[in-house]
């Protein structure tokens, strides 16, 4: 079971690298924001899995909660910013 959790962590890491393609080659800025949001969600799961691997679950859960809050705030702030100021910058 320990080896399977390590495999799951490496699988999520590879999926994050695959998602970086959409960040680099996104046709517009919303694709990039969406890909960054997906990478953030995957990274929260990755942090929880790393906490199970190192058996320091109490510490890594606080990091995961803080990272999820930051990721959520980033997406909401980007959406509100482009909804309000995007027409002016076009």
């Amino acid at each position: 079971m320990e080896g399977f959790i390590i495999f799951a962590a490496f699988f999520i890491l590879i999926l994050n690298v695959v998602c970086l393609y959409r960040v680099v080659r996104g046709p517009n800025v919303f694709d990039r924001a969406l890909a960054v949001s997906v990478i953030g969600n995957n990274t929260v799961l990755l942090i929880v899995l790393v906490g199970f691997i190192f058996e320091r679950i109490d510490m890594f859960f606080d990091i995961a909660v803080a990272y999820a809050l930051l990721n959520f705030m980033l997406s909401i702030a980007l959406g509100k910013y482009f909804e309000r100021w995007g027409k002016r910058s076009r």
Partner: protein
Amino acid sequence: MNILAAVLIAAGLFFLSISCFGLIRLPDFYARNHAAGKSGTLAAMLILVGLAIYNGFDITILRLFIILLFLGVSSPTATHAIARAAYKLGLEPWTLKNRNPEFSHDGGTPQDESSSSNEALH
């Protein structure tokens, strides 16, 4: 119990890979948003429930449940906020007649506008 947890985590990894390949392969921003939002949320819930079953009954289950609730609320909200901003700015969806969707608000194509204005969004 470990087998059930492994099956749940494997299902979560499957849905995560569906989310990422949908993000790469689908033709349009709204289609990518659809793939990423729903499949990613389901994958997060499956992986966290699998880890809770693997952990056993403990105080750790409460923390996992907090992360699960927060991800289940925040991930659809974030994708909805980004999609709403894109719709308000006039990003056209991909259709069979419009294979290359662009920003067309107020009837003007992006080629008609000034060249410096498109650099901020592309």
